[in-house]
Structures are given as C-alpha cells and as structure tokens.
Subunit: 412 residues, 2 copies
C-alpha cells in the first residue's frame, strides 16, 4: 500500500466543524487505499494565545520553556483529530514529536531535524490505523522538547514523507495552490500545476509565502513530491517536484514582488582586496541578513558597493555601516527605503535567451525606472521605486503571459 | 540540603497574578535553603475546556487520545511557572511525566504509578534549579501518555516526595487546612494541626474532600509527611503524618456528614450460607460500590440484610436486587433515599471507651432518631434522616469539642 502524508495548518483546524472537514480528506485517502499520516499544526490562534500568556509572565522567557509550552498546541490538535476520525468510524492514533522520536538538535525555537524513528509510525499504519503526528516539534538527545520555528509543521510533514517513502506530501492550506504571481496585484494570475523545488525556493524566499523555505529544501533533498492544495475544496493544487524536462519549455514560471526592503549603498570605497569581506563580516556580526549584493568599479581605485536587506534589519545595518565606514574609506553612504524588487523566475532560463530583454522592455513600456539589476541562474530581479512596484509586476506578468496555463506559455 | 515538594492546584494558577503568587511560596522555600520540586495542575478551567472540545467531536472519545489531550494542561502550567520563576531571577526547569519517566500501567484516564526516575530530577536540583513536574500524568511502557484520574496531581506530588525522600509534601489549596468537621455546618469547626493517614482516609472517603484518597494512601505507604495549606496565606495548615503516640490522647479527631446516599434493605432473606455472597456478587457485577453492610437475624431461618450506596448507583443497584430477590427468597425490599450518615473518627478510639455512648447520647439529646449504626476500628457511623443530618452533625461536633484545638480535647 502507498503512503500519503497530509498536513493541515491551524486555520484548517480552528473549530470542530473544520476538524471534521479536514478528517474527510483523510477518509477519502483511506477509501482510496492509502495508508495516511496526518501532520497537524496548533488550532487557530492557540499559539498566539500561549505566547501572550508567556509574555505576561516573562517578556524574555527561557527558550526551552517556550518550546515546552508551545508544543502543547499541536499535541491538542492531533488528539482531537484522532477523536474526530474515531467518531467517523476510523481507527486513529496520535503521537507527539517525542513519541515518534523526532530527534532534533538543541537549538530551542528553531531546531533542525536530525532523525525520525519511522518504525513506530509504520507499525501503526500496518495495523490499519491513521497515524497523526504533532507538527512543529521534536526532542533533542536529552529528551528536551524542541520546536522547529516558523513553518515547522510543513517541515515535519515533508520529513515524515521522506522517512516513510510516501507517494506524496499534501499541504492543505486556505489557497488553491501556488499562482504564477500575486493574484491580489495581477488578478488573472494562473494557478500552477507544477513547479520545481528550485523555482519554489526562489518564489518563497522572495515573498510568495505559501510554503516555508526549509520544508521545500527538505523536499528537494529527499525528493518528496509536495502537493499544495485547498483544504475546503477537492480540486488539485500545485505539485512541487524535482525538475522535469518539460518544465524547461516554460521560460518564466512566475513573478514576485518584494516590498519591505531597504538598499544601502557605500560610494567610493577603496577598491582593495578584503574590503567587501570586512563590510559583510560586520553585517553578519550584527545579525543582518543581506540579500542581493552589487559591486561596481568607479575607477581603478574606487568602487561602489550596494546591497539590499529587509527593512526590519535597517537599524542594525546602519549601525554596522557606521562602524565600518572609515575603515574602508567610504566617501558617502546612501540609504533607500522606498524600493521594491520585481523578479521573474523559471528553470527554462537556463536554456533560453531573451528573458532579460523582454523584462526590461516590459518595464520600459510601462515607464518604470530600473534602479539596479541582479540575476541568478533561474531568476532576474530589478529594484524599482516602491510606488511603481505593483505597476511593474503587472507589466512583467502580462509580458510573460502569467495569466495563461503553462502549456500555452511554452512557445513565448 | 533537604528537599520539599510543593503542589499547586488549578485555582492557584488560574492567571498570571496567581502564578506569580504561587512562585513566591517556592522562592521562600529556596531562600530557606530547600531544594524545591513543584507539581502543578492544569490552570483554572483548562481541563474542562479541553473536555468540552473533545465532546464536541466525539461523545465517547478513545481514552488514550483523551489522555494525550488532557496532559497538555499540566504541561502548559509547568512551563509558564518556570517562566515566572525565571522572571524573578530563579533558575527553573519543567518536565512532563514522560520526561521524568513517570511510568504507569496502561489504564488510560485512571492509571496507577509504577515507578519514577528520580535521578533526572535530582540532577537538576543539584544544579541549583527549581524543578517543575507536570502533575496528573505519566507514560506507560510503550510511551503512551496516561493520566492518573481525579486528584491525580496530589498523587504525583506525594509519589515524587516519596521517590526523593523529601522532608515534606506541601499541598497548596484554597482552604486553610483540614477542619474537624464541615465549617459550613458547624461554623466554629477547629483547624487540625495534625491528622494521621488513617483518620484522613476515613475523613476523605466520607466526604471531607480536600485531599484525594489515593494520594493519602500513597503517603501512608511511603510515609510522606503531607502538609495541606492555603496558597494565599503564609500560615501553617494541617500535617498528615503517620500515627504518633500523642494522637491517641484525642478520642475524636473529626466528624463528617455524607449525604447523597441510599440504603437498600432486603427483609426476610433465607439465612443460609452463600446468600449474602450472591447478593454482593450481583451488585459488584453491576459496578455498584457498596459502603456499609449490616446483617441481622430475624429468626433461625430468616435474616435482614441492608447496605448503603451512593445515590448515583441506585438505579443499577435496584436492577441487581430485582434479579436476586427470588434466588435468596427475600420477602420484601425497602429503599431509603432520604438518609445521611454522620461519622466520628479518631485513632484514640482504639484505646478509649465511651465514644459510642457519648455520640448516641448527643443524638438523643438533639432528638435525632438513629436508623442504624456501623463501626470500624477508628470510626463510628450512624444513619439518620437526611433532614436531621445537619442538626445531628452539630450535636455530635459540640459533644466532642470539635471547636477546640486538639490539646484542649485530650481529656474529654
């Protein structure tokens, strides 16, 4: 029998009615002769409530105790889910992270999975039971409860699917799947049937926000098919898979916009070996996550160095830059907060020409000024004025036919 | 360093302010150079809420899943309690039943403790930490979470005190301690400084209701001093200990009233060997818990057999009696629901005469009619009309000076 892993987020489990509706997806899979493992997040706003309870007692709670506290939310979800399945006449058993020996490192509140004892799950599946596993949590080697941080339940689900060699890992959410671009901005954005791990990683880190990056990385590493779909519907969603040859036929799979960014430029830095390293070492010390970096030569002796960061890191970044300014002999620092980054993504770029041309052409026609450009193997990004960001995304999305299904885009 | 175990009930942990107040008791003990282990129940109405959530999904939830669900309440309490101690500058670490290997049998929702791994607790105490243990819960040998049933956290606390050889186990509650009788009825009822396990067991099973019977039995078995005291005050409460010689000086330690009872009488049963056994075998099959049994001879061939039960078992008991009536040749069955049982309890009865006389005299003077009488080694109980119950308790309490401290009662 094939195994399927189904993951339900907190909004899909917010009340009894929603839990029953989630259970129907499980029952359907059982009827289709699958062995089913369910991974559940904490119900609705439970986690927020527990965090508020903790903060009332201690504004800076010990992380070990925070994990001990927060892990109860998922434990409640899986036991209640098991009761719902029992009420519908299906045998079910729930497990905590501890009970299936989901071993992680000891980095409380953002632990990494090291191993899973798949046998305990398999034994129960073979008894004909639906197995429910509390998402987001594990234990370290000293039996301390750990949690995996944001998006942790997605990671739990993909990791279990990998450990069991599941046919696929379904991520039930409140959207239909992954769209070519943000439908709130480009309203005819098409739903993708399929996307590669690498494309998804570029989309996720650039703000598409449906799946957490770590879960996708895990899926890529262990080649787990991840199916993102709507929990309140029976329609197919989007399959995240390894790159397949036909994917290359599509030049651009999706486009993203990222706001909440800032760009810092260091003008006239001495162009000597080691200066760039000094800058980024200081930023790393200040725990600033740097996105794209651009360096251009001004003269034989001077260079401009600029980089983008999340707006929330701006204060720390400014402080770090102040410290380093004299050391690298920087003439001037400029900071822009009013920017947005527009990106097009597609594995087809590896084998196709003309994507950059088409993108810049579309932006020019829409009269959007490009501040700077960066590229990766499967992505082209432009920094534009923030107030031109949505217009830019629309122009690019239209140029690459992102309102059409992938088959119709292949020849573009 | 001596170890002290402190147990806090749900009402003592209902909100942040109450948790902080409970933490003050811990801090006081730490300052007095104790190593402290805290056992906590679920906060306020948490358990009731979880039960309601479960019932909404499944009116007859699987017991294993119920335990998985309910155990989260205590886990939340201990982690929050640890955060409160941390905020006050005290190092603390919380454990679930699983983490300290509180091994129980597999009888979900009313498991019995088999063993505790005290080493994990001791190791943390020796690091200078306050150790918090989730009450009410354990795991069976297959890592399934179990719960200990009503009063389970008291039992956890006493069991841990026994395993660690603690100096005493403090049970923090919302009353000052254990009173000689119910202060709602006999308003000057004195608070006891001390009571023996056996007296407490008689008091508890007869409805005094502060400590759960199982916890007291555990205390007796492992000779753990149990100190019942008020969490919102610093005054001494009542110490439950092994019988000490001076206790015998007090003839009557306390008096209780039990309502919600019924009495069933079988009149003119054939007085042949085995008939009583038949009756009680049928009642046991019907899961009826029988309290006192009285059999009296009517003639050489006939006897009256009567017994008391809790009112909630009456329907089941009636059914069982209907089945057995012909078999034992019973002439008539009478049932009384309008009764109360008044008891006086004291280990001093073992060595003193005249207690029964004094009790019956007090009841006669108050014009209370006695329906029937039963006794144990340290208890005398009278069944009276329910509407005379409170008057009877007052009369008996006054006769035995239960408004006075024990020292002043010794000569009575």
């Amino acid at each position: 029998m094939s195994i399927i892993v189904q993951k339900f987020g907190g909004t899909s489990l917010a009340d009894a009615e929603k839990i029953r509706r989630a259970a129907e997806h499980v029952i359907k899979a059982v009827k289709n002769n699958y062995q089913v493992v369910v991974v559940a997040s904490a119900r609705g706003k439970q986690t927020d409530q527990l965090i508020a309870d903790a903060m009332e007692l201690n504004p800076n709670p010990p992380k070990r105790e925070m994990d001990q506290l927060l892990s109860t939310g998922e434990q409640q979800s899986v036991s209640l889910f098991a009761m719902a399945l029992d009420a519908a006449g299906y045998d079910a058993i729930s497990f905590t992270g501890s009970q299936i020996r989901m071993i992680t490192d000891s980095v409380h509140t953002k632990a990494q999975i090291k191993s899973i004892e798949a046998e305990r799950i398999r034994k129960q599946l073979d008894k004909g039971k639906v197995v429910l596993v509390a998402g987001f949590q594990g234990i370290d080697e000293n039996e301390n409860i750990t949690t995996l941080g944001r998006g942790g339940s997605d990671t739990t689900a993909v990791a279990i699917a990998a450990a069991l060699g599941a046919e696929q890992c379904e991520i039930y959410t409140d959207v239909d799947g992954i769209h070519t671009t943000d439908p709130r901005i480009f309203k005819n954005a098409a739903k993708m049937e399929q996307i590669s791990y690498d494309e998804m990683l570029e989309m996720a880190s650039l703000g598409a926000g449906v799946m957490h990056t770590r879960a996708v990385e895990f899926g890529k590493k262990y080649n787990v098919k991840i199916h993102v779909r709507n929990s309140s519907q029976q329609t197919e969603g989007t399959m995240i898979t390894a790159e397949e040859s036909q994917m290359e036929g599509v030049v651009v799979s999706g486009a993203t916009i990222q706001k909440d960014m800032a760009k810092i430029g260091l003008v006239g830095v001495d162009n000597v070996p080691g200066n760039a390293a000094k800058v980024f070492a200081h930023l790393a010390n200040a725990k600033v996550i740097v996105n794209d970096i651009v360096q251009t030569e001004l003269s034989a002796k001077k260079a401009n160095l600029s980089f983008t960061i999340h707006i929330s890191d701006l204060a720390a970044a400014k402080e770090a830059v102040e410290k380093i300014k004299k050391e690298v002999n920087c003439e001037k620092v400029f900071i822009r907060e009013d920017i947005a980054e527009i990106s097009v993504i597609g594995v087809g770029m590896r084998t196709h020409y003309g994507v950059a041309d088409k993108m810049f052409g579309a932006l020019a026609k829409a009269r959007v000024n490009i501040d700077s450009i960066t590229t990766s193997e499967i992505r082209i990004s432009c920094i534009v004025d923030e107030d031109q960001g949505e217009k830019a995304l629309k122009a690019v999305s239209a140029a690459f036919d992102l309102d059409k299904p992938a088959e119709q885009r292949k020849t573009s």
